[in-house]
Symmetry: C2
Subunit: 536 residues, 2 copies
């Protein structure tokens, strides 16, 4: 055990995830094909070997016909941290050793780049023993490197062959699993035996579909954010003088904001997908917030809590148009100065740009990602809304309240938290399944654990062909295969539940404080599911 | 039970604090005088009736000689929230009812202003039942109003008399307890029978002394912040690319930062009191941080965690001098514009001002508190250091790393958190003691629960005369009686422990993740004490 651990970290080392019945015995399972529609022929050309792969369900009863032999498997973390990553590796390791005590697990370091550089460590029981049920990805590190280009695919094949890998498990989000699909196809084309298995990871919750009920880490991260939001709501209610504008990490989709809203009942929560559907203008959103503040003020409530998803700007059509023009101007070497930009923009974007607070104008003009695009994640939307709402309130004749806004951004503290019991168990199951899929010799599959609303023993296991998740999208003028991000579905229960309750939350103070994640005691509490899952 | 509660909030309603042996039976205690030095004659003139009051220790065995009669007591929350406030009221209520079932407790609303306006509610078991062990001050609300002026004292007396209060319990920080001392003196002078009892509250931890081991709320708030810091440290260690500059709420003194450092082992923690003692210049602090970053970079560690106490600026002598000049210029109607201010400042402050980032210059010139002073709490010190460190690193020839800083401010989410088991029990004991002191007919006393390192049954109880804590300080050109803020003592164990460990924390990654506060299970975990207490 490492010395540098808190008491709780040490206690958590002792937690043992329950393994779903179906995953208990690696030699007592086999795959059963589940028919799915294979109409995704648009990608046939790019994935000739893998586009028509079937979906498999893990079933019990029949003895596995494969010989019991040691397996050599590689694993890598890709992209931002999500609570539970170490447990995926634990599930993988434990199952590989169950399959054969001489199996070995190699961890590539610092993300996909570690595969290309063949930087790896052998994962041993001793090493792993300090990482069970711990947060972070620090056992291996992670990185945002990609494996897309031909030379990267070739380098990966070389490493897989030289290390004689039976399988390579990629723990990542939509982009990383797209890379996994490319690798699986490439390896099959080249006759490389290494099986590629993807594990759905991201706190953003945007990697989910019919079979993948949730990406791991979402549950814990939302619980950490909801603890913070609930506490702040309690503070608002006690101090009665501040409006808290809380921006939440979670990239484009508004899953995290929706989940936190369901857990904490704030006065207002912006949902990007709804804004897009209603084609709302920025000023309309500002007015919506100002209306709330005026109404609450009439009820002598000059305080409140407002949740803002990190990706909100991408869902405001006129902002999209503005950003697109800015990107074009930047790409063609236009003068990105506040003074000159207005003359370069067309009418509507120019009007919108002029209406933005000065600091936001600067952020839009200065920040650039490696592709030269506007750095949306750098735009302080919480401050944008505060500035614009302040302006809107100044014009309201029906408003006599005092508007004291405070802004917050919650993100990093949720990505590396100690995984909740749910994420700990879910990730162990995902890792176990990944090992079984390598053992069962399938490739190009994403691990999918189902029925997570049931007790762990009843959870199901599937292998979903990565190509079934892939669509073609225009990126930088080219059609590229990508796994489509799952957006909040405005017709499904999580959003509908929120929609039904939110009018009440606006004016009344119905705040819930979920409090800190609990690991011990009443299982209703410590094994609780996020609302997005139990309302699914 | 209120409907609007999370599962954990409901579970916490059922928690029952253990009551220290000495506080178990209100009719089996009496007061024993403990001799203390009474050399505080400077305040004799201001507090003729109360300056020489003795310190009492609660002792058992002798029957209380007072008749058992119903008591009428008022209570008020004053200032910012601190976890455990509701439990003070629970302890107070339960004990008053134990003393006599017809006792009554009146809660003044929205802070000391509620006393002046006589806005109050009767606290009943039913009402209180949804607030046991809950965070926030929302049962009564709070406020930053003061009771200092003669008319306020007179108004308070009127309310106390008309409500026939036997006692008035003021739950507050240093300023509020100074007000309590003024009230106690005034009431005695006027022959008003209402006893004034203070309860030490503040997450800042700066209300502590020989007898008051800690102010309530400090334990929980530091645990909440340490959860966040520990998670972020884990994130830093996994992503390996960010320097996190974390500002921590906690007003002037650096107790909160020190405690969080002891819990999480960040790479660097600024301690205001040490900076003052060493009379460090701003640039020296910047260089200290830059040195760390350069050294870590040489060890290929381009990431880290740096803690900054909210009040740091007040401890940098040259910043104090600058702020003093700015306040003087503002007070005499000088032109507070960036362009003109340099000509109005004397040499050193002008040089310092010029060296500050533009955004910080603006914050110093624009924000003003109600007294016209610079709004120090608005100065984004975390961004100040980021800007100046960026500049310093650019000049370093020995630095080839990539500096990617991120800033955070943790505060509000700690003030209203669900109280830890320690704060829940500590506050129940404080409230119980407050009731007993009213019952025992003493006034002008602060509740002090001692030996908190021992098991709860062994905790001691004292009544510390408020005047013994009061000193005269110059405020706005006048000598004013105030309770001195307790600063971090550089000669005591918490700081010495930190000092001994910090060299190691700088270059190695010794981060601890304390994780979320636990309420159930192993008592080592859920009843744990903050380091500042067990090292005391």
């Amino acid at each position: 055990m490492k010395k540098e651990m808190s008491l709780l970290q040490k206690e958590r080392l002792l937690y043992r995830s329950q393994i779903p019945d179906i995953l208990q015995d690696p030699l007592e399972v086999s795959l059963e094909e589940v028919p799915i529609a294979k109409e995704n022929s648009a990608i046939r050309e790019l994935f000739p070997k893998t586009w028509a792969m079937p979906l498999f369900s893990l079933v019990k009863g029949k003895k596995c016909i494969l010989a019991k032999r040691p397996l050599r498997v590689g694993v890598v973390f890709s992209g931002g941290q999500a609570p539970g990553g170490h447990n995926v590796i634990c599930g993988l390791f434990d199952t590989l050793k169950k399959i054969h005590p001489e199996s070995s697990l190699i961890g590539f370091q610092d993300g996909p780049g570690g595969i290309l550089k063949d930087r790896a460590i052998e994962i041993t029981e001793e090493l792993l023993s300090s990482y069970r049920n711990q947060g972070g990805f620090d056992l291996l590190g992670s990185g945002r490197g990609k494996i897309e280009k031909k030379e990267d695919l070739e380098l990966s094949e070389k490493v897989a062959r030289s290390r004689k890998l039976d399988g390579l498990v990629i723990i990542g989000g939509d982009d990383s699993n797209t890379n996994a699909a490319l690798l699986a196809e490439f390896f099959l084309q080249k006759g490389c035996e290494t099986k590629i298995i993807g594990v759905p990871k991201t706190i953003d919750g945007d990697l989910q579909n019919e079979h993948v009920e949730i990406s791991f880490g979402f549950d814990t991260a939302c619980k950490v954010f909801s603890e913070e939001i609930g506490n702040i709501a309690k503070d608002a209610l006690s101090a009665k003088k501040y409006y808290h504008f809380i921006k939440l990490m979670g990239r484009s989709a508004s899953h995290v904001a929706l989940e936190c809203a369901l857990q904490t009942h704030p006065n207002l929560t912006l949902i990007g997908e709804e804004i897009l559907e209603k084609r709302m203008k920025l000023q309309e959103i500002v007015d919506l917030i100002a209306d709330l503040i005026v109404k609450r003020s009439l009820a002598k409530r000059n305080y409140g809590v407002i949740l803002i998803p990190e990706g909100i700007i991408e869902f405001i059509p006129e902002m999209q148009a503005l950003i697109q023009e800015l990107n074009q101007i930047a790409a063609t070497g236009g003068d990105m100065q506040t003074a000159t930009i207005l003359s370069l923009l067309s009418k509507d974007p120019a009007t919108l740009f002029s209406s933005l607070p000065h600091s936001i104008q600067e952020e839009l003009l200065l920040g650039r990602d490696p592709h030269g695009n506007v750095l949306l994640s750098q735009v302080e939307t919480e401050k944008l809304f505060i500035a614009m709402v302040t302006e809107a309130l100044a014009k309201r004749k029906d408003y006599a309240g005092k508007f004291q806004p405070l802004s917050h951004f919650f993100g990093y503290e949720g990505r590396s938290a100690l995984p909740s019991n749910f994420d700990a168990q879910y990730c162990t199951a995902l890792g176990t399944l990944a090992a079984l899929l390598v053992h069962l010799e399938v490739t190009g599959m994403m691990c999918a654990i189902g029925h997570v609303k049931e007790s762990v023993s009843q959870w199901t296991a599937k292998a979903v062909p990565l190509t079934s998740l892939i669509h073609l999208e225009m990126r930088k003028g080219e059609k590229k295969p990508v796994i489509k991000k799952a957006l909040v579905d405005l017709k499904k229960k999580p959003f509908l539940t929120f929609q039904e309750a939110r009018e009440k939350w606006k004016l009344q103070d119905s705040y819930h404080c979920p409090g800190p994640v609990q690991f011990f005691g009443d299982r209703k509490l410590c094994d609780s599911l996020s609302a997005s899952l139990y309302l699914r």
